[in-house]
C-alpha cells in the first residue's frame, strides 16, 4: 500500500508526517530546525525509514517557509503555502470547521472557512511578538521550560497585565511586574493573555471568530493560551490530537492526488548535501543566490529575482 509524505519546514521546527490514502497519520516527527533545515529534514527521513522501513511513497507535499528548499531536497509533487495546507487538514478532521487559529514559531494565522472553502485569512506581518518564539524566549528568561508554561498559567489567581505588543516592551514590563512582587504564575498567565490580545488585535480585527474553532500549531500545546483565548472570545477552542503537524498533514492530503511521484527515494536521508550562497553582481539588485550541493554537483539554486541562476540547475 502506498503512503504519502507531508513535510512542513517552518522557521523554528520541521514537521514530517506519513499518512495513508484515508488521511490517517501513520508516523510523524516534530523536531527543531535549529537553523539547519536540510539536516533536520534528512534526520527526520532517516528516522522514518528506521521506524517504518522502505515504505512505498505515492506522493510528497511540502509546505512552510522552507517549502521550496524541502522540494529541492526530496523532490515534491505539490508545494503549497501554509494557509491552504492548514485549512486542508482542519477541514479533513472537522468538516464543518469555521475558524482556524494557527500559531507557530514565527508566524500566526487566522483562517475563516465556510462550507469547506476558505473565505478569508490573515497572517501576522514581520513582528513575531505574538508567536511561539516570543513565548519560548520569555519562558527561558523566567527559568522555566516551554512545556511548563501552561500549567503555571492555569494555576494563576490574578493574571498580571503585561504589554504584549512588542517583545522588547513585554520583557521590560515583565521585569517591572516581577519587581512589583507579582508571583510567577500570575506573570505567566499575563504573558498568555498578552499573546492572545496581540493575536486578536492584529489578526482578528474586524473578522468573526465563529465555532467550531480549531486551534493548531506548536503554541496550541500550551493550555494557558487556549484558556486565554476561550476567556477572551467566549468560544470553545478545539485542539486536535495532531495540532503541531497539521500543516504537514494538509500537504500530505493534497499529495494523494499524485499520479507519478517525483520523490527522490529514501537515499535523500544519506546524501551529502551542503548549501552555499553568493551575491550575484550582475545588476544592482545583488540578489543572494543559494545553492544546494550534492557532493560537488549543484542540485538546486534559487534566490535570484530574475531567475537566471535558478534556470541553470542541473
Amino acid at each position: 500500500m502506498k503512503a504519502f509524505l507531508g513535510i512542513d519546514v517552518g522557521s523554528v521546527t520541521t514537521k514530517v508526517v506519513l499518512i495513508d490514502q484515508f488521511g490517517t497519520v501513520l508516523w510523524n516527527s516534530y523536531r527543531k530546525t535549529q537553523g539547519q533545515p536540510i539536516r533536520a529534514l534528512q534526520s527526520a527521513c532517516a528516522a522514518l525509514r528506521q521506524d517504518m522501513g522502505d515504505v512505498e511513497i505515492g506522493g510528497v507535499g511540502t509546505t512552510g517557509s522552507g517549502r521550496k528548499l524541502a522540494d529541492h531536497v526530496v523532490g515534491a509533487d505539490t508545494v503549497k503555502n501554509e494557509i491552504t495546507a492548514h485549512a486542508l487538514s482542519a477541514i479533513h478532521l472537522v468538516p464543518n470547521v469555521r475558524t482556524i487559529v494557527e500559531i507557530g514559531g514565527q508566524d500566526s494565522k487566522l483562517i475563516l472557512i465556510r462550507n469547506r472553502v476558505v473565505t478569508d485569512f490573515s497572517m501576522n506581518t514581520v513582528c513575531a511578538a505574538g508567536t511561539g518564539s516570543f513565548l519560548e524566549h520569555q519562558a527561558t528568561r523566567l527559568g522555566i521550560s516551554i512545556g511548563e508554561l501552561g500549567s503555571y498559567a492555569l494555576a494563576a489567581s490574578s493574571p498580571a497585565r503585561i504589554a504584549g505588543r512588542c517583545t522588547v516592551f513585554a520583557e521590560s514590563d515583565m521585569i517591572h511586574k516581577q519587581q512589583m512582587g507579582h508571583n510567577l504564575e500570575d506573570i505567566v498567565a499575563g504573558l498568555c493573555d498578552a499573546l492572545v490580545r496581540n493575536y486578536l488585535n492584529n489578526l482578528a480585527r474586524g473578522k468573526e471568530i465563529s465555532e467550531p474553532v480549531i486551534f493548531q500549531g506548536g503554541v496550541a500545546a500550551n493550555p494557558g493560551i487556549k484558556a486565554s483565548f476561550e476567556r477572551e472570545t467566549g468560544k470553545e477552542f478545539i485542539v486536535p490530537p495532531h495540532y503541531p503537524i497539521m500543516g504537514a498533514v494538509g500537504v500530505a492530503l493534497l499529495a494523494r492526488d499524485t499520479r507519478c511521484t517525483r520523490f527522490r527515494g529514501w537515499s535523500v536521508a544519506e546524501q551529502q548535501l551542503s548549501t552555499s550562497s553568493f551575491y550575484c553582481g550582475d545588476c544592482p539588485n545583488s540578489c543572494g543566490v543559494i545553492e544546494i550541493n550534492d557532493c560537488d554537483r549543484v542540485i538546486a539554486r534559487w534566490g535570484d529575482s530574475c531567475g537566471k541562476w535558478g534556470a541553470q540547475r542541473e
Partner: protein, 317 residues
C-alpha cells in the same frame, strides 16, 4: 542656463506624470534624465539618507535622488498640493522638496514649482510653470502655453485636467477578453503598484500562478459614483482613485478578487483601506490588503498571494 540637464527621480508622482514631465522639458529644449528603476542599491541609499518615520515610497524616492544628484544640473521635485478643488496630496508629498533638502547636505538646484488648484484655480498651471521658466531663462507665457498644450492634447487643458494626465506605466493590465483564468483586480497607488521592485514583481507573480492581474485608472464618472456609496468624499488625491478602482472591480463580474497594495506607514491608505473593506465590498468578494515596507520579504508576500488565489480557486473544496 542654456541647455541644462534636468533630473527626475523615478519615484512617487513620476509614476503618474512621467510622460507629461519628460515631454514638457524636452519641448523646452532641455535634456531630461530619470533615475533607473528601483533596485536594492537605490533602496539602500534611500534608507541611508532618511529618517524612520517616512513611508517606504518616500524613502525610495530619496534613494533615487541620491543616485541622480551628481549627474544633473537641476533636480525636478514639484510640490503638488491640490490637483483639483477639495482634494489634497498627502503631507509627505506636499513637503517633498523640503524633506529632500533636509536629508541631503549637497544637492544641485532643486526646481520645486507649486501645483495648487485649491489656491490658484485655473491659474494653477501658470503658477506651476513660472518658476520653471525663471530657472531656465525662458518666457513665462511661452512656458505656460507649452505645458497647457501638452495637457490639452489628451484632455481639456484646464488646471484640474492635469490630474488626469497620469498614465499607468509598464504593465499590460487590461481585463483579457473571455479568459477562463482567475482575474485579480490589483489596486493601490501607482508609485507602489508599478514600481516592480517595491511591489515584489506582483503582476508577474500573479501571472506565474496562472491568474490574470488587472489594474485600471478609474474614469471621472466612476470616481463620482464610488463617492456616493461612502459616507464622505475622499479628499486624498490618489486615495480617491484607489477607492474608485475598488468599486469598479467589486462591481465587475469578470473580476474574481481584489488585492489592495499599500505602504505600511501610509496614513491615507489606512483610511481608504478600511472604507473599501467595510463600505464598498457589498458583494463580499475576496479582498486582501498587502502591506509593504522595507522589511516585507518576498516570501511573505508570495505566501499571501498564493493563498489568496487558492481561496478563489476553492482548492480545499
Amino acid at each position: 542656463m542654456k541647455h541644462p540637464r534636468i533630473g527626475i527621480p523615478r519615484g512617487l508622482l513620476f509614476y503618474s506624470y512621467a510622460d507629461l514631465w519628460m515631454s514638457f522639458f524636452r519641448d523646452l529644449g532641455c535634456e531630461v534624465i530619470a533615475s533607473p528603476e528601483t533596485n536594492a542599491e537605490i533602496l539602500k541609499e534611500g534608507l541611508r539618507h532618511t529618517v524612520s518615520d517616512l513611508c517606504l515610497p518616500v524613502k525610495t524616492f530619496l534613494g533615487h535622488v541620491a543616485v541622480l544628484k551628481e549627474d544633473v544640473d537641476l533636480l525636478f521635485i514639484p510640490r503638488h498640493v491640490s490637483m483639483e478643488q477639495e482634494s489634497y496630496m498627502c503631507p509627505k508629498m506636499i513637503g517633498l522638496p523640503d524633506v529632500t533638502r533636509a536629508c541631503f547636505a549637497h544637492l544641485p538646484q532643486v526646481l520645486d514649482p507649486l501645483f495648487h488648484v485649491k489656491q490658484f484655480g485655473d491659474k494653477a498651471a501658470d503658477e506651476f510653470t513660472r518658476p520653471i521658466a525663471k530657472a531656465l531663462s525662458l518666457s513665462p507665457v511661452r512656458t505656460a502655453e507649452s505645458f497647457r498644450k501638452l495637457m490639452s492634447e489628451s484632455f481639456g487643458g484646464t488646471a484640474e485636467r492635469y490630474r488626469q494626465a497620469c498614465s499607468v506605466l509598464s504593465e499590460d493590465t487590461a481585463v483579457p477578453p473571455a479568459s477562463k483564468k482567475i482575474c485579480i483586480g490589483i489596486i493601490g497607488r501607482p508609485y507602489l503598484l508599478f514600481d516592480r521592485y517595491l511591489s515584489k514583481n506582483l503582476f508577474s507573480f500573479v501571472r506565474k500562478l496562472g491568474a490574470n492581474p488587472v489594474s485600471l485608472r478609474p474614469a471621472e464618472t466612476e470616481i463620482r459614483e464610488a463617492m456616493t456609496i461612502i459616507p464622505k468624499w475622499v479628499y486624498w488625491d490618489m486615495g480617491k482613485e484607489v477607492v474608485a478602482s475598488a468599486h469598479v472591480f467589486f462591481k465587475d463580474d469578470r473580476i474574481d478578487g481584489v488585492i489592495n497594495v499599500c505602504s505600511a506607514a501610509c496614513g491615507p491608505d489606512s483610511f481608504t483601506g478600511d472604507l473599501i473593506r467595510k463600505r464598498l465590498n457589498q458583494r463580499n468578494k475576496p479582498y486582501m490588503t498587502l502591506s509593504i515596507d522595507e522589511h516585507a520579504s518576498d516570501a511573505g508576500i508570495q505566501t499571501r498571494v498564493e493563498a489568496f488565489i487558492d481561496m478563489i480557486a476553492k482548492v480545499t473544496a
